[in-house]
């Protein structure tokens, strides 16, 4: 018989996971809302973030792990800007005949390229940066690690900051304007190309930050981005393509559903095996009722 503490612990665990999922999905949705491009290499940006944190913390002994997260975000910001400025820019300059297919091929190609580059450069063995803080918060015989609590706290902080940036700064408003109507935005003096680069760079930085936050808990390997990337697509569609609020709420919903589904379904093997299916069921149900997602706008 499960106790109230058990459900409290599972709920906490779900919220912690959900906030980390949300941070990654937020980057993906931001890129989509502004560039109208689905970044299939988002999972690899997440992994690169984890590796940057690992190598920085390994090379500079005694540095607080939070610097690993910051370095990952900065590194991925510039990598994202580079990728957008060189590989995706032709779409927005009208230099390619079939922009949608081009975007898919380029981001898919980048995903494979980064996976194999990581394998060659970082090696095949999993890497784990040091913990944020050893130990955990205990209820009865169960415990939730400080690493997770801190990672979730930082993720919530970054998401709050992002909401503020998008709502209250000129650049944020410019990003929103471009996402709504590129032509109208350029008429009022906003450079859509610059906003494209900014959105892709911020989106990549969020993926990198998310990877650096979970690396002490999950370990990083070259192919560790595949599952989080697929989950992010589900969250983004569930929350509404391009909706920041949708990505955050969608992330929390998926985190909670996955955790509670695994916690209560009678057969534990099936409960764990179908972990990713719970989110898909909710996703399908929501799309049946609201095809545009929870917070998406109708075309």
């Amino acid at each position: 018989m499960y106790t109230a503490d058990y459900f409290l612990m599972q709920g906490m665990s779900g919220l912690v996971l959900g906030s980390l999922y949300a941070l990654m999905a937020l980057g993906l949705t931001l890129i989509f809302s502004v560039l109208k491009v689905i970044n299939f290499a988002h999972g690899e940006f997440y992994v690169i973030g984890g590796y940057i944190s690992y190598f920085l913390l390994s090379l500079v002994a005694g540095i607080p792990p939070i610097f690993g997260v910051l370095a990952s975000m900065v590194g991925l910001f510039f990598l994202g800007a580079l990728v957008e400025g060189t590989l995706l820019r032709p779409i927005h300059l009208g230099q390619v005949d079939r922009p949608d297919e081009y975007a898919i091929l380029i981001t898919f190609g980048l995903s494979f390229l980064f996976q194999n580059l990581l394998l060659s450069v970082c090696g095949p063995f999993p890497k784990t940066p040091p913990s944020f803080l050893q130990g955990g918060w205990r209820i009865g015989v169960m415990m939730i690690s400080y690493d997770r609590i801190i990672a979730a706290g930082i993720a919530i902080g970054i998401m709050t900051l992002m909401m503020w940036l998008v709502r209250s700064t000129w650049s944020g408003q410019a990003l929103r304007a471009v996402s709504q109507n590129k032509d109208a935005a350029s008429i009022v003096g906003i450079n859509p190309l610059r906003m494209n680069t900014l959105a892709f760079a911020i989106g990549s930085a969020l993926a990198g930050g998310s990877g650096a936050l979970v690396a002490p808990v999950f370990s990083m390997a070259p192919d560790a981005g595949v599952v989080p990337s697929i989950r992010s697509f589900i969250i983004v569609v569930l929350g509404g393509m391009g909706s920041i609020k949708g990505a955050i709420i969608g992330g929390l919903i998926i985190g909670l559903i996955e955790t509670l589904g695994t916690a209560v379904i009678p057969d534990p093997s099936r409960a764990l095996a179908y972990k990713r299916v719970y989110g898909l069921i909710i996703f399908a149900l929501v799309l049946l009722v609201r095809p545009q997602g929870l917070f998406g706008e109708e075309e």
Partner: protein, 423 residues
């Protein structure tokens, strides 16, 4: 010298040069390298970290053979790698390519049983000798295929050793967490069969090896209060599982022991990931304990460590031994002819890193009825012992041996397990 004599001398010189050239070409023909193929998972979604170690070890073996003058009258050996990505279809294509395009005369390798099983019909079609280094599925050898030899442990051998240890320690409630692959399914089946014959109460759960977060399941397992958690998930997930098991307060703790997968033998990554959480973790090591290893085995491991700055894991040893065994068979057969090599392997007795290899059951000596079918072309004396990490940073060879009794370290006594101290 007269002009006639000069002409004769020039003709003689030309003929000598011509004959010399032919002789040189013929000699060069003879010195064509002996090509041996190796198929391993070297990239995702396969177990590329294990594949890399096995390949490195086989490369080391190839260098050793070539540095000592080659085989069959000075011919060099050439190791040709093809990546299976851990996928059966790619594994089949890899073997086909090695045989038809690269013209290899023997093949070694494999980590994933599914890949090995898929390759077997191709090996049969082209009649190429094959040494399976690390696929555990009993069916790899139980099919009685002429070309296939195996030096790794089988799933049923492995589970029997673990269950014997559980009984000896006196565990009463065991929770087994397997990966939902063919390997995990077989493991689950054998464990169930063997645990049913004991008084041990057990439950099991299957997990995707790509799972990153096990917290929810671990919290659930904790409600059942097992005294042993058997977390046999391979690859990076094994690190996450152990860390999360400790962080949820489940195991290793004074109440619950933790038995992890062989991936945890990668001590460098293990300690980096687990830190203090890794103490009192039990792992099986499918090799000889350091106390009974030969000097040759120690030298090979030392060389591997010097070359790659990593400890040589048992899988890497298998990569090394599989290559050397194929070479030894060719040396013994004095040929690369498939029938001669297969015959030589059936009669071989060779000291490798993991023991003295031989395949007692084959075409001349069929598997007796009272023995399992998988003993066909199976190395029967695979050694497997259990170790327990007790200090942060310990390598597998430094950790105390806890099972079997004949190799158990003094510190373990007759308990066969060092419990986690109460805080």
């Amino acid at each position: 010298m007269s002009s006639k004599a000069r002409s004769f001398f020039i003709l003689f010189l030309a003929c000598s040069l011509l004959i010399g050239s032919f002789a040189f070409l013929a000699l060069a023909e003879d010195k064509e390298p002996v090509k041996i193929g190796i198929v391993l998972p070297m990239s995702p979604p396969g177990a590329y970290n294990t594949g890399t170690k096995m390949y490195r070890a086989a490369q080391l073996a190839a260098s050793k053979v070539n540095d000592s003058g080659g085989i069959l009258g000075g011919r060099k050996v050439k190791l040709i790698l093809v990546d299976s990505r851990g996928m059966p279809e790619q594994g089949k294509a890899a073997v086909e390519r090695l045989i038809t395009k690269e013209k290899v005369v023997g093949i070694i390798g494999n980590y994933h049983s599914g890949v090995a099983l898929a390759q077997m019909p191709i090996l049969k079609k082209y009649h190429i000798p094959y040494i399976c280094a690390e696929a555990w599925d009993d069916r790899v050898t139980s099919k009685g295929q002429e070309e296939v030899f195996r030096i790794s442990i089988t799933t049923s051998m492995y589970t029997q050793i673990a269950v014997d240890w559980m009984k000896a320690v006196g565990f009463e409630k065991v929770y087994l967490l397997h990966e939902n692959t063919a390997y995990g399914e077989w493991l689950k089946g054998y464990f169930s069969e063997q645990l049913d014959a004991t008084d041990i109460e057990y439950k099991n759960v299957m997990a995707d090896p790509k799972t990153q977060d096990f917290t929810s399941t671990l919290l659930r397992i904790a409600q059942w209060e097992p005294d042993l958690l058997f977390g046999d998930v391979t690859g990076p997930a094994s690190f996450s599982l152990l860390k999360q098991s400790k962080n949820t307060g489940l195991a290793p703790t004074p109440d619950t022991a933790y038995y992890g997968s062989i991936t945890l033998l990668n001590s460098k990554e293990f300690w980096e990931s687990a830190g203090e959480n890794g103490k009192y973790t039990v792992v099986s090591r499918i090799a000889l304990p350091p106390t009974v290893e030969s000097e040759m085995a120690k030298e090979v491991q030392k060389k591997f460590k010097e070359t790659y700055d990593r400890d040589m894991t048992p899988q890497a040893m298998e990569g090394y031994d599989a290559f050397m065994l194929m070479v030894e068979a060719m040396k013994s057969a004095e040929s690369t002819d498939a029938d001669a090599v297969i015959h030589a392997l059936e009669n071989i007795k060779w000291d490798g890193v993991r023991g003295t290899y031989q395949f007692p059951y084959g075409s001349d000596n069929p598997v007796p009825e009272d023995m399992p079918d998988y003993m066909w072309h199976q190395f029967p004396d695979v050694t497997c012992y259990l170790l327990e990490y007790t200090e942060v940073g310990q390598t597998p060879t430094e950790a105390p041996v806890i099972w079997p009794p004949e190799w158990a370290s003094d510190v373990v006594g007759s308990d066969y397990y060092i419990p986690v101290p109460e805080e």
